[in-house]
Symmetry: C2
Subunit: 360 residues, 2 copies
């Protein structure tokens, strides 16, 4: 469970293939999480999990899935962080929870990446407390993948809600972390970074944005990425940039507006197809193409906000994630684990911090 249990790590040496899973705290309970793990190993049999939560319940669920138990070590945690628990409360009294235990497996080094469907605020608080911020990082951020017109099919956007404010230095750090995530998560060698604003002219917007613009521009060449300057809301699903940098308030509103709009258009489309006999028939004919579209814009398939700026990586799955959603979040955690993302990000941030400090 935590540092002082004396339990041995499940692997010695290489923890790259081990993910730490918080099985409790999601809206659909441990059933959905264990179902997601079962689905994930079908695609990637090399995955190993440390699963945290109510041991008897979890073991029973795992036993029902053929072959899954070979991939899992279960750690008992009696407490569960609920969606309404206050982060400050969890930080004080949450030691016995599955969330805390799951984060601690990354802290101790026995797993590389932690995945949780729990309360975002509490997960960020526990992650900051147990993993600590990287040197040079003031505010950690949550990054997500956003369906876009780019060849990879996605853009990276951050922060989408770790903190409601960000000053110019924070935004510079978000640019570096987002760029590193785009390299490791999307496989881009030279990501294009844009700063979200209400216009693309350099003299527009709030003071901290104009400051951040200049700072990001200064480090771009050395840090080996392209800074395209200010971008607008319409560029988030577009192909002008790969990484969209913004504060957590604006990013969270944009994320939820985009999700809400996509859901709205999808529902209207469904209504349109149900409107007449002819259109119902058309829907049957177009089924395959429409399913492909639905998959492309299905938020469950891009499930997983990644906490950046900590000593270790934490993937936050949607609270309402079902089997598909959990499998997507676990797949993302796996990709980040295999690419050695935590170490690469740390190196990247350290290099630029040193360089900026050298210039000052």
């Amino acid at each position: 469970m935590s540092d002082d249990t004396g339990e041995a790590p499940i692997q010695t040496g290489d923890a790259t293939g081990v993910l730490s899973i918080d099985a409790m705290g999601g809206d659909l309970g441990p059933e959905a999480v264990i179902a997601g793990l079962a689905r994930a190993i079908k695609k990637t049999p090399a995955m190993r999990f440390i699963v945290h939560g109510d041991k008897p319940v979890i073991e029973a669920l795992i036993a029902k899935r053929r072959g899954l138990s070979d991939h899992c070590t279960v750690r008992h945690a009696s407490g569960v962080v609920t969606m309404t628990d206050k982060p400050s409360q969890v930080m004080r009294t949450g030691k016995d929870t599955s969330m805390w235990s799951a984060v601690d497996s990354v802290r101790s080094g026995e797993a590389t990446v932690c995945v949780s469907c729990g309360n975002t605020g509490a997960l960020m608080a526990v992650s900051m407390l147990r993993l600590r911020k990287l040197p040079g990082i003031n505010r950690p951020a949550i990054a997500i993948l956003w369906p876009s017109r780019n060849p990879s099919g996605f853009n990276v956007m951050l922060d989408v809600g770790a903190d409601v404010r960000a000053d110019a230095d924070d935004l510079l750090q978000y640019a570096l972390m987002g760029m590193s995530y785009a390299r490791n998560g999307l496989g881009l060698t030279r990501p294009r970074v844009g700063l979200l604003n209400v216009g693309t002219e350099e003299n527009k917007g709030r003071t901290e944005l104009r400051e951040a613009h200049d700072r990001i521009e200064t480090v771009a060449a050395e840090a080996d990425f392209d800074f395209v300057g200010f971008v607008e809301g319409g560029d988030i699903p577009g192909d002008r940039v790969d990484v969209i940098v913004t504060d957590g308030f604006t990013g969270n509103v944009a994320l939820k507006t985009g999700e809400g709009t996509a859901r709205f258009v999808r529902d209207m489309l469904g209504e349109a197809f149900r409107a007449t006999i002819l259109s119902k028939f058309a829907a049957v004919l177009a089924m395959t193409s429409l399913k492909r579209l639905a998959a492309r814009i299905d938020p469950r398939r891009v499930n997983g906000g990644v906490f950046l700026g900590l000593n270790g990586t934490v993937v936050k799955s949607h609270g309402s994630a079902d089997e598909t959603g959990v499998a997507a979040a676990v797949g993302l955690a796996w990709d980040l684990s295999k690419s050695g993302f935590s170490d690469r990000l740390k190196t990247r941030v350290a290099a630029v911090t040193a360089s900026v400090e050298g210039q000052e």
Copy 2:
């Protein structure tokens, strides 16, 4: 053109049926504007226009549209505000422009509402300079109609870009103005107002939002609207509220994110239908239903940001508005003109300002 031309207003007494049109400054030039006017009078023959811009050009365009000249008075203005002109520059040297002249027709009372496809920043600057803010209003706002699940088909959101910041008092004023707009623009007797935040709990978000929450709650009963508290980005196209209140930075990002997402889903849908022979055939069968959907989410049909908080109403059409878009903006201007919106808003703001000051 301006106050000192000595030209007589085209009507004495009732200006309710007269709209002031800036024919220049849109991306598609005066052709699109005049085409939009011709379309608008087909639906509403009672409309009368004062059209501002290059007189010979505009008169030639009007002459090509049968019957349109009976609805129009043309006012010559030699200058045009371009999309790249700085608002401050236009305020100093823009007296000869069609935009200035169009706003002045509302100032002088010969028209009730002004419509322009020009540069938003310049239009707001000229509107503030010539029309002046309403007593009690600190920052005017731009309100738009957003396609939603509500019975009316729309929600009101403001501010979407008049000002990049707003304090608690500004947000309270936006709530009052947005509520008045929802009454007159959507015909709702008791609009539900929500304040945009990153969560719905009362203790969440930035300080000014928690302050605004309390102030709006205090006036809601007296001002005869329902305050539902904090709402999230996903509620913008939803049916929990009729009016979404936010600062101009967040509102602008949300608006453009929503538009971009809708466009993205629409394009992906088109691709899905072109993917196979079967799906192409399906598209033909579902044509009518799909056209109805496209109309429902077509941004041209909800074209028109309304400037609120001035002595007179200004409708800002999309710069790229075509005939359909201009006709929609003119139709919106007409509805607001006929409902006596400017006076109603003024009365509403004055009543609450007096009441709040009385309590202090």
